[in-house]
Amino acid sequence: MLLYIVKRILIFIPTLFLISLLAFVISINSPADPVEQLTRAASMEGGVEDKNSAENSVKNEIRKKLGLDLPVFYISMVSWADCDTLHLISDKKSRENLQRLVKKYGNWQNVQNYNSQLIQFHNQVKSVEFTSEQLEISNDLSFLVLNLQQVNHHESIEQNFVEIDNKIQIINNSSLKLAFQDVKKSYEYLINHSGGIHRYLPKIKINGLQNQYHLWLLGDLGLDEKRGKNGVLMGDFGNSYSDNQPIIQKIGSKFFYSFILVILSIFISYLVSIPLGIYAAYKKDQKFDRISSVFVFMLYSLPGYFVGTILLYWFANPDNFVWFPIGGVKDASIYQEKWGVLQKISHQAPYFVLPLITYTYSSFAFISRMIRGSMVEVLQQDYIRTARAKGLSEKRVILVHALRNSLLPIITMIADIFPAALGGSVILETIFSIPGLGLEIYTAVISTDIPMIVAVFTLTGLLTVVGYLVSDILYAIADPRITIK
């Protein structure tokens, strides 16, 4: 038995590793620039006085903390044309742009040359002293140059070139003209001298422990330079992009409501559906069975958000009945922390009625269908016939002999219901505005708060895996034959 449990746990470790890898891939592929978002969140807190220089130092600090100056993974596969140090470029957009250019033309040297010419030209634009009439044009000019650093389509680059040419013509500055000639030349050189075969020659690069995934997963452990991170394994998911608070603190309180709703709803639905399923199976093909089957089937096909909305429409709407509050988990104006447990529960109970109904009914439909099915099957077994032949009372046959065996598949269903309930909580918590994990991931998606999304994703993945583990073990306890297989 112990061996079996250890074996199951060992099997789950690679799964957890893959979940973490998937979460990490999601987090680095997000379109938003984390540095920009975090800088905004930090400056909203106040504390940034001198805009430009302070902002830059804040940005660098954040980059360092997030480990964005490191390569992505332990090993990487690049072509000979690629650049090893591209991840050192701070601005995300221009970094991606350079990457694209390298992929397109397959020659890092030329791309680098083009880029440095562009930067030189930009600096020159900044250093030239313009007259007041030219000021607007110069602003346009630097805007165009910045734009040029973020485009890689041939047509749009050419178009930008033409526009910059026009602006320079108006300003009529010879040094700018010369500098811009260099930019154009380097671009022409770039597109005419592509790297050829180099870009199709693979190269494996070993980055060692100094990489983003390692920092994300394990934090400072084994890193040369300490960055003040503990890693996801220690529960450090970083800071939220929206308000710069540590994610784990934000999640901690949310976790409670989600968990309690899911557990309560599973408990209630088991409580209702086991007797119903048994009775329906006992009265198979009779009136009660047929009516309850149709009813349960209808419930099963009703989407939760529809039922939730209808319930709110009827029971939390001033036009109909105001029996229950419209959402949330407590009335902040009345609720006090110093209340006793009973008072807290009696205050919060009405808030949970409608969500619980919505949470419960769909798993209830599913479970009672399952129980009926497995009970019907067990009732056809030989040993039930034997029990009846022995003259045992019908009550004893059903509740003692049949029930125990028909409950077996129901144990494994916890593993199926648990992740489904967690997933479903996104929609239901949004409808009832319950401050749980589901609502949190919804708001995070709306505000592209990637670390939050990744954290909720990883945690729900973990919970799901644990759910499977628990149901496996329960099943092994209930049916010892499993461990032998």
């Binding site: 690679p14 799964t15 893959l18 979940i19 998937l22 999601i26 592929n29 997000s30 379109p31 596969m77 690049v78 072509s79 694209r100 992929k103 397109k104 389509h153 870009r199 199709y200 693979p202 089937f297 099963y300 096909s301 009703l302 989407p303 958000y305 529809f306 909305t309 209808i310 709110l312 429409y313 709407n317 036009d319 599913f366 269908r369 399952m370 099915g373 497995s374 099957e377 199926d416 219901i417 992740p419 489904a420 967690l422 997933g423 479903g424 996104v426 929609i427 409808i431 991931i441 919804y442 998606v445 990637i450 999304i453 990744v454 909720v456 994703f457 729900t460 993945g461 799901t464 499977y468």
Partner: protein, 451 residues
């Protein structure tokens, strides 16, 4: 029983199941509505006779709405230019206008009936003489309007199109992955196929190389195509890249046999087909699917139907694969397959000619349940405003509008009923198919419905 026809037998069994048969009929009706939606809900009339000019606006604007036409008006003695996307046909003084049953498209903003007009409210329009009066019955908003005057009935018709499209295409995708992997896992198991160490090694190396040559070096082309807004071409490139990748892996397999002159590499090893595929299924099952979909949708630059279909398809094949695997494991041990093996048929022939056709019919059951859950996921996501593009009207997006405005009960009830109906009919069809194709499957499919 000499000429026993399984298809006919199954169909007659299916017909005996009244709820399933009726669901099938309703499904045909919904598919009909989805396919012919431009002629069922359209603000462009089907036919207009305007002073001798016969126009067919609904047909003319099928491909693009921004069309223009100029016609000579005989009686008024002037040229009239028609901008199809701007003209309000209700106020055009034509002699005869034949409107579609729902005289609005899903995106059409009826400026005279804004702010949640109920089906039973008084609805207004501007008639040919420029007076604003009550709508005649054939132009009614049958199921009311939303805040900006979009017709709910037209939205439902459009939503049917989107739901059926997403449901069917994503399940075709999930079905093909699930059928293939499930068949391989079930038929070959863990100790049937042997390959040499060299081939194994080469497959791994070429697997990585395949990724390098497709997505690492040329992936930018796919990304660029999507950025340019050319989604169809983007998906074609994407799938081409995957096929090329698979071909490269196959090439690796072939290259492996060239290395057989080295004795160590010639050792034959079993391929754990079942082990690998089962592990993959277990992994996907232990991810909370809806949260995975939401997460992936969140990091996408733009929302599109294609991406939604891809996500749903790639995450929902596990049920079908598990099902197929169980079927194949059962069939593999049947006597006729054993006989075929003894007679010396090759694996390929036994698999595709003898085993596969017998395993496929029951899979239709899980396909039907799969469409139901895909429709549920799609409407749930668009209810949250995450799945489909903002401007697209779907059942879920209509329902979420209704949640924001409780007075507009028609915005909750009709889309909700539409979702409920479509899920119910797919579930009922699934049950009917199960009873007709293989009653012994009852236990297995009950479990699969949860996935």
């Amino acid at each position: 029983m000499n000429n026993f026809n399984f298809k006919k037998y199954a169909w007659s069994k299916f017909k005996q199941n009244k709820p399933a048969l009726w669901s099938f009929r309703i499904l045909i009706a919904i598919v009909f509505i989805a396919v012919f939606s431009p002629f069922i809900a359209n603000e462009q009339p089907l036919f207009v006779n305007w002073e001798g000019n016969k126009l067919y606006p609904a047909f003319n604007t099928l491909d693009t709405k921004s069309k223009t036409d100029s016609i000579w008006l005989n009686d008024s003695k002037k040229w009239e230019v028609i901008y199809y996307d701007r003209i309000d046909w209700r106020s055009v003084p034509a002699d005869f206008k034949l409107f579609a049953p729902i005289a609005y498209s899903a995106e059409f903003n009826d400026t005279y009936n804004r702010d949640f007009i109920a089906p039973w409210d008084k609805q207004r329009y501007k008639n040919e003489n420029g007076e604003i009066i009550a709508l005649p019955w054939h132009l009614n908003h049958w199921l009311g309007t939303d805040k900006i005057g979009r017709d709910v009935a037209a939205g439902l018709v459009h939503g049917a199109k989107i739901s059926m499209f997403i449901g069917v295409i994503s399940i075709v995708l999930a079905g093909s992955i699930g059928l293939l992997l499930g068949t391989l896992a079930g038929f070959f198991g863990d100790n049937t196929i042997k390959i040499s160490l060299a081939q194994k090694l080469m497959i791994w190396i070429f697997w990585v190389l395949g990724y390098f040559f497709t997505f690492e070096t040329n992936g930018y082309i796919i990304a660029e195509t999507f950025e340019n807004g050319n989604n169809t071409l983007g998906f074609i490139y994407f799938f081409t890249a995957i096929i090329v990748w698979i071909l490269i892996v196959f090439l690796g397999f072939k290259t492996g046999s060239l290395l057989h002159f080295i004795p160590v590499l010639k050792q034959q090893k079993f391929v754990k087909v079942d082990g690998i595929i089962s592990r993959l299924i277990e992994l996907l099952n232990s991810l909370p699917t809806l949260i995975l979909i939401i997460t992936v949708a969140a990091i996408m630059n733009e929302r599109s139907l294609g991406i939604l279909i891809l996500i749903i398809g790639l995450t929902s094949w596990t049920g079908i694969a598990r099902f197929m695997r169980a079927e194949m494991m059962r069939i593999r041990n049947l006597e006729y397959i054993q006989t075929a093996k003894v007679m010396g048929f090759g694996y390929r022939k036994i698999l595709w000619k003898h085993a596969f056709p017998n395993a496929v019919p029951p899979v239709f059951v899980s396909l039907a349940f799969g469409v139901a859950s895909a429709v549920l996921v799609e409407s749930g996501l668009s209810f949250l405003g995450i799945g489909v593009p903002d401007e697209m009207v779907t059942w879920g997006s209509l329902l979420s509008l209704g949640r924001q405005e409780f007075e507009a009960s028609w915005l909750v009830i009709f889309p909700g009923l539409a979702i409920f109906t479509s899920i119910t009919i797919f579930n009922l069809i699934g049950e009917g198919l199960r009873d007709a194709l293989d009653p012994r499957l009852k236990k297995i499919t009950n479990k699969l419905q949860m996935d």
